[in-house]
Subunit: 314 residues, 2 copies
């Protein structure tokens, strides 16, 4: 069993440019991020899209990790790349990794945050350790039939570090710094688990995905109104139930009022317009940490042996 | 002489989506923006790029309005489109316009602002009236051999309304509202000039372009450091001369200190990365309004006859 490496992916979306820059800087200066002795594999998720500075070429790579489809050798650049990443760095790959950390940025005001897909104990253990260290919010994405095939789901443990707001294609020093902090905190936590010194907090606070809303649209598909300015930039914040969701061009409120107790995330993420998502809404929940979580992560990391760090492809 | 129409252009850059949405809404609801009885022609500057949601296809349309090159029937989608716009709506075109208002957005925190190219009296008159009404800042772009061929320069009078920050491809209600306000104020000012009721203020405050800076780069062309977080979002603001311009990935300051008295604009505009511009710097100047300005604009508008508004191409 050597599948104990940590895969760090930047540029899964080619127009999210901050994490790729951070990884290049890390390659040039190995002291930039303390990998805590963990065997780390660094890759650009979608090199072709990164070269073109677009999100993807044929299909969103971060919706391509669908084992059934990958087994059938589905065509298209991103399906090919998904298969390749699994062959190279999957838990049974050439340079096996048990954990995947996928570094994203967003045009939404998500701050420094984590996205967890489903309720795998090892994911929740790592998320709890990072939340304990940094206090950051966690978006628990689950039960969304429209959104599947995320990269990290194909590794035994995996989280997305999601940082914003930053426009697509813009390098921003603060976004880089937040990404660096999130990544280093994940690596430190994994090392503590490996060393047996990790202690989970008593509770994990998640924002559980409930659903998504599109802009109201006319028969021609054109938006009739936009995200209300009072929602813009209010990711993770409580919204009054007297607040309209949308605003028309003439400045009048449009559409339903906000539902009390729901909390918005990914408000006006640029790339979600084509997915017909103006924002998602969540419910804040406090979960007691379960005893199974930490051992599940420990088991994945138990056999870790330091390996040389691989350079990024040039 | 019928060249007294006003050309309103949105989507000169195809990924600046707010002004095109505003114009469509205006088309659906003619009361949305008061054109003050002026004959207005509304167009999408670069329809093909707008369809693809990219800035341009072959070349930045807003650098293609170079009379010498256009006369030579230079090839490429954007050169063709520049020629077409002039044939259709130039001051000697089929539906002649004397004034062009070009609506842009930016990822930089420019707020609601105007860009004036050079020192044409009619432009300065219109800019002074809008500044008097709204108090907004004006970027005077001139003497920049690297940046030429702007759309509005091919009309006898023309301004850019530049609004930000907003990521490329993101519809934002506040940006739409600011654009609407800027456009309506321009139209109202033009009408006042036409009616002979316009009164210019005593002075015009401009931020005169001095130059631009790129990120510091290594031999491989990769940035060695990014725009300093203390400059990010500080467009139009005074910066301390003890402030470093850039920050490296390890959080240390990098590069020269800011030059006292210079004021940044277009800080970290996404589209300028390929133009090797991390930000431009300006000097704030207060110019006495000259007597020639208002008559120059009046002369352009004197023969204005109301014409039907043209619909946008669908």
């Amino acid at each position: 069993m050597t599948s104990c490496g940590v895969l760090v992916v930047a540029g899964t979306h080619g127009n999210e440019v901050n994490a790729p820059w951070l990884l290049r800087q890390w390659q040039a200066n190995p002291d930039l991020i303390d990998a805590a002795g963990l065997p780390v594999q660094r890759v650009i998720g979608n090199p072709e899209a990164f070269l073109r500075r677009c999100r993807y070429v044929d299909r969103d790579l971060n919706r391509c990790f669908l084992p059934d489809l990958l087994d059938r050798e589905t065509s298209g650049l991103e399906f090919q790349r998904a298969g390749e990443l699994l062959r190279l760095h999957g838990c049974n790959g050439e340079q096996p990794c048990a954990v995947a950390l996928d570094l994203h940025s967003t045009t939404a005001a998500m701050g420094n945050s984590l996205v967890v897909y489903g309720r795998r104990p090892a994911d929740l253990a790592l998320a709890a350790l990072v939340q304990e260290a940094l206090g950051l919010p966690i978006y628990l994405h689950e039960a969304d039939a429209q959104q599947t095939g995320f990269l990290v789901e194909c590794w035994p443990c995996g989280l997305v570090i999601e940082v914003g707001p930053v426009p697509q294609g813009v390098l921003n020093a603060k976004i880089v710094e937040q990404t660096r902090l999130g990544l280093e905190t994940c690596l430190r936590a994994l090392d503590q688990v490996r060393q047996g010194s990790a202690r989970l907090p008593g509770a994990l606070v998640v924002h559980r995905h409930l659903g998504s809303r599109d802009l109201p649209k006319g028969e021609d598909g054109e938006p009739l109104a936009l995200v209300h300015p009072e929602l813009q930039g209010r990711d993770w914040q409580s919204i009054s139930s007297s607040q309209a969701m949308f605003r028309a061009a003439d400045g009048t409120d449009h559409g339903e009022l906000w539902v009390d107790g729901e909390i918005p995330v990914f408000v006006n993420e640029a790339a979600y317009a084509e997915k017909s998502i103006a924002f998602s809404f969540t419910r804040r929940e406090v979960w007691p940490v379960e005893e199974t979580w930490l051992p599940a992560l420990q088991q994945l990391l138990c056999a870790a042996q330091p390996q040389a760090q691989t350079p990024l492809p040039s």
